[in-house]
Each structure stands twice: as C-alpha cells, then as structure tokens.
C-alpha cells in the first residue's frame, strides 16, 4: 500500500493508505474519545464516541471504521463534532450511577476523562429514574463487576471470545436491560482473565486484588519486566511510599510491547508482586543469629579463607550484569560456577500463548554467558549461593546464602539480596530479546544487589 497524505485539523500527516483513521489519531497523539476500539481487539463500532467530521461526508463518521484515503480532510474539533460527542456521551451516561467518589476506577476512568473533556452538560435524568443493575458481582478470577457502571463497549466480552476463546463473558438482554454477565452458575475462569480489568475503560470491572488498596493518583509507575517466566512480559510496577512506611508495590500492569506480550500478561505474573514482597530476607544471619554487617563480612572472609573446593550457584532470575559480575568473581576465587536451569522448569505452567514452562526470567542470559547448568553432586567445602532455589541440593560442608527471600534449611551465613524490583539490569527473554529494567523500589534501608555485594566482599566500599 502506498504512502499518502491526509489533513487532520488543518495539519498534514503522512500515512499508509488504508490505515484505520483511529490508529493514526492515536499514533499522532491527537485527542479522540473512544471506548470500544482497542488496538488488540480491533474495531467494533458500538460506542460511537470516536466520531469525527470528514469533509464531503454528510454525517459525522466513526474513526474506528474509517480507512484513510488520499486527500481526506478530517476535523476532530469544532462546534459541530463537539456537540455530537456531548450527546453521545450523555446517552452513554443515561443510567450511569454517578458514584465516582466511591469507584476504584476514579482517576483512570475514560468516562470521567471524556466527561471533563467533552461532556460538562447538566444531566436531564433524575437519579430516581435510572435503571439499576447489580453492583458487586464476583465474576471469578479476582474480577469484580459493577453492571451499572458498564458502557457496554464489549471489550471484555471480545477478550474472552476472540483472544482467550474461553467465552465466559457476554452481553445479555437488550436496551436498558443489557448487561455483562457470565452464564448462570459459571465463572470467569482462564489464566489471563484479569486482563479484562485493564481493558475495561470504566469502573465496571475492577480487580479484587487491587481495588480500594490505593487511589491510582498516589501510585508511581515504573516500567519493568515480569520475572514469572522466561517470556519476559513487559509490565508497569505501580508502587507508592506512604508516610513513615516502606515503599510498597500495589500491582503489576501489562505494558504494551508488540514483540513480546502484545497488550497482555498472565494472571500468575500479574499477581507475582505479592510473593515478591512476602517472606523477605532482610537481616544478615550468622548461624541463624542476626548479626551486623562487619561481623557478617568477617565471617564471609573466614569461610572463604578456610580453603577447599568452592561452588557458586547463581539464580537464573538475576540480571545479566549481575551474572557477569558473579562469573568474574568465581574466576577470581577459582570457584566452580553453575546455574542449573532444570530447577525452574514447570511443565504445568506453560501454554501456547505467553506462559513459558521455563520459569526463570533470565534463562537465556545464563545460556548466553555460557554458565554451566549441571548441578554438581560431589561434596564440596563451601557453597556460595546467589539465590538459586536448589542450594540445599549441594552437599557442602559450609554454605553462604545470598538470598532475596527466606529459605528453608540451614546456612552458616545468610546475606540479604535486593530483588529485581530493587536493583536494575538487563534480562534476555526466551526469544533472545534483551530488556532493561530500571530500579523501581527505593527502600528506607536499601539492600545490596549481587554486584554491590561482590564489590564490598572484594574490599570495596559500600
């Protein structure tokens, strides 16, 4: 298809002929309201919010069902189109309960945004005349439905019919009585179900896990990569530091990336922020006793100096930079380094979409660095384990564990390690795509990453 030129609001734009007008508007950052269109779901043309004026056409047209043509002249502003939008919005809102003050979507609600941008009319409908529906339906899979707030855009139902093909959701009834629901007695139940919460442009679908935990305007979003499996889905880590408290993560959200995860993530990955924050290893332990940093470092040097064969284990979830540092360090110590990937395989987890049975986020990174993967079973004098889950399988006389989370089993020395959210680095996903994750969480008392530990243990300053 050929490159053409069209005019939008008096400005020229070059684009591929036949491209959907709404895609061009979104790409160019031109403001146009829409509920039902979604890049991943395509056009449905049901909400009518995306109306624009096209010269030569008698009536306003929906941008999500218009393919651009050479010489097209489009207007997204102006009295005519704005009054059309206002009326469509008013129609959408006829039965809306206007309970934004207690709605968890407030602050990230398209209905609110569009009302402020294009609505601002006085309601002609009395509260008492509105048609009411059910407000707290537990659909299953952590998704709560408020039927009254729904604008019937059918994004959620198209997700279950077109994307997961599980067909749990549907719009039933007609007119004022149309509403989203599952079949009687059935639940929303698929491994990607919670994506409907992000798809829902309004407060009709909210996450049972996140709702009422935080107002969204208090949250800071840091781009990152999910560590749930080797797919490396792109996410936003939404976090907040409340006064006097330590910074906390409140949710993971999908971050669009056409090359990796499209617009979605799996529920297991989405909820993995919980595990990340629970059971954390925060203290240094010598023989199980809490100790100070200088004591721990002295203990470390003593254990290493005692001599004998040293094995270093490295977690395949560590960043490539960390793995490299460990590799160098192992060389200096003359230690044998391994990062067995078999330990992370979970055949019950993988599927033919996003979820991978290799559950280590940087398994490819380990392979690329050529780190050995065989778990040695010969007895050794000392094990230094950088957070690998199979540390207890090594027969070592003495052991040092640098770990992000508390682990079973005894160790001579335990050093707390910063998890991925509290340091930064690069991961290589299973398709070989390198992705950088900046540091998201700044603890009141920061923990050290593998690189920082190695620096310190080699005589550097903290």
């Amino acid at each position: 298809m050929s490159q053409i030129e069209i005019v939008i609001d008096e400005k020229k734009y070059a684009a591929q002929e036949g491209l959907l007008l709404i895609d061009l508007l979104i790409r160019e950052g031109l403001k146009v309201p829409y509920f039902c269109y979604h890049e991943a779901l395509g056009a449905d043309g049901n909400c009518r919010m995306c109306m624009v004026e096209i010269e030569g056409q008698k009536r306003p047209q929906i941008a999500c069902d218009t393919n651009i043509k050479e010489g097209m002249i489009v207007r997204t502003k102006g009295q005519m189109i704005e009054s059309v939008r206002r009326r469509i919005l008013e129609l959408e809102l006829i039965n809306h309960p206007v309970d934004c003050a207690i709605c968890d979507q407030a602050g990230e609600c398209k209905l609110q945004d569009f009302y402020m941008d294009y609505g601002l009319y006085d309601s002609k409908i009395d509260q008492a005349e509105k048609v009411h529906h059910k407000k707290h339906i537990d659909l299953g899979s952590n998704v709560m439905l408020d039927q009254e707030r729904c604008v019937l855009c059918a994004r959620c139902t198209r997700f279950t019919s077109d994307i997961t093909k599980t067909h749990e959701l549907g719009i039933v009834g007609r007119g004022d009585h149309a509403r989203v629901t599952t079949m009687p007695g059935k639940k929303l139940d698929n491994p990607y179900a919670m994506n409907v919460v992000d798809l829902c442009p309004v407060g009709a679908l909210t996450s049972k896990d996140f709702r009422f935990a935080q107002r969204v305007w208090f949250l800071t979003s840091t781009p990152s990569v999910c560590h749930g499996c080797a797919k490396g889905c792109n996410i936003f880590i939404d976090h907040n530091k409340e006064k006097y408290k330590d910074e906390r993560i409140y949710r993971f959200r999908p971050r669009p990336n056409a090359d990796v995860n499209g617009y979605f993530i799996c529920d297991a990955g989405r909820l993995s922020y919980k595990e990340l924050q629970e059971n954390r290893q925060l203290e240094m332990l010598i023989d199980g006793m809490v100790s100070k940093e200088d004591e721990a470092v002295a203990c470390y040097h003593k254990l290493v100096a005692d001599g004998g064969k040293i094995v270093i284990l490295a977690d395949a979830n560590l960043y490539t930079e960390e793995l490299e540092a460990i590799q160098k360090y192992a060389h200096i110590l003359g230690a044998q380094l391994c990062a067995p990937l078999e330990s992370y395989r979970d055949e019950s987890f993988g599927d033919d979409w996003l979820k991978s049975s290799q559950r280590a986020a940087n398994a490819k990174g380990v392979e690329k660095l050529g780190i050995a993967q065989i778990l040695s079973t010969d007895p050794v004098a000392l094990l230094i384990n950088f957070n690998h889950p199979d540390g207890s399988k090594i027969k070592a006389q003495k052991s040092i564990h640098l770990q992000t989370h508390q682990m079973e089993g005894k160790a001579d020395l335990v050093l707390p390690l910063a998890p991925f959210s509290e340091s930064s680095g690069t991961l290589v996903n299973e398709d070989g795509i390198e992705q950088f994750c900046p540091k998201a969480i700044w603890r009141n008392e920061p923990l050290m990453s593998a690189i920082e530990w190695i620096d310190l243990l080699q005589g550097g300053e903290r």
Binding site: S161, H167, L169, G170, I171, V172, R174, M183, P184
Partner: protein
C-alpha cells in the same frame, strides 16, 4: 434434569444444517424447537444446542436473552400476550387488560400458581386494523371485548375437562 431433543427435532436440525453456510445460523431455530418442546428454554437446552451447532453456550444464551419471546423460566401453559401499542390502547385495551387481570388472577409478567396461565403486554402485533389484539400462544384473537375474553377462557376450560 437433562435436556434431549426429540428424534423429530434432531432430524429437523440436521436438515437445516444443509441450508445454512454456518451452523451458528441455527441458533434461533434450535431455540424455538427447545421452547416448543419444553415450554421454556433451560440452561441444559442451551448447552445441548451449543454442542449440536458447535457454538459456545454463551453465544446461544445471549441470543436467547435478547428476544423477549424466548422464556428462560417456565411460564403458564396459555400465554396471553395483549398488545399495548397505540391502536390497541385507543380501541379499548385497558378494559380488556383489566378483565384479564380479574379473570386470571394474575398481573402482566406473572404466571398463575397452577401453571395454566401467563399474562404479558407486548408491543404492536401488526394487526392494528383489528385492535385490540391479543396473541395466545401462536393464535391471534382480534377485536377483543371482555365478553370475547370470557368465551376464550370457556373454550380453554372445555379443552381441559
């Protein structure tokens, strides 16, 4: 309480499959057959239809809930559907409705306890020239008066005896 289509209906469905390019087009005819067979459309029937025509049950359920003529709950055997639209309203529908409520002892939207009668008001039946009009199951009754209602009820009683 499972649903099975009669042999006759199954044969009809197979014959209809040849008529349409996509079996999903059979949703409506299948729903009708299920309703005629049982008097209403049960969730089991929806599952069975979905299976038969290879369509997810949710899609069938959506169709069934969209049309007011499909009943997802059992209703009275004789379903009185009185037209409430303009011509009928002008030509005495109110009086007929009042009489029906009296005689049947139920209000629009209800079924009688013995499961015999159901009453509802519907939009224009397309027979405005003979208003007021009522559809009882598949039959039209025209130019209604309270007396005509009595006669209809009497004939139904006779049928029952």
């Amino acid at each position: 309480m499972s649903f099975v289509f009669s042999e006759e209906n199954l044969a009809k469905i197979e014959a209809l499959k040849l008529r349409y390019p996509s079996p999903a087009a059979l949703s409506l005819p299948c729903l009708w057959m299920a309703q005629y067979q049982d008097g209403h459309i049960s969730l089991e029937a929806i599952e069975v239809i979905g299976e038969l025509i290879g369509t997810p049950p949710m899609e069938i359920y959506r169709v069934a809930t969209f049309y007011t003529m499909f009943h997802l709950e059992p209703i009275g055997k004789y379903h009185f559907q009185l037209c409430k639209t303009l011509s009928c309203a002008l030509c005495g529908k109110a009086e007929v409705l009042e009489h029906l409520i009296q005689r049947l002892g139920i209000r629009p939207g209800e079924s009688s306890d013995d499961g015999k009668f159901a009453l509802s008001q519907v939009e224009c039946l397309g027979s405005c020239g003979t208003a007021p009009v009522m559809q009882m199951n598949d039959l039209y009754y025209e130019n209604l008066t309270p007396e005509k209602i009595d006669a209809i009820l009497e004939s139904l009683e006779g049928e029952h005896r």
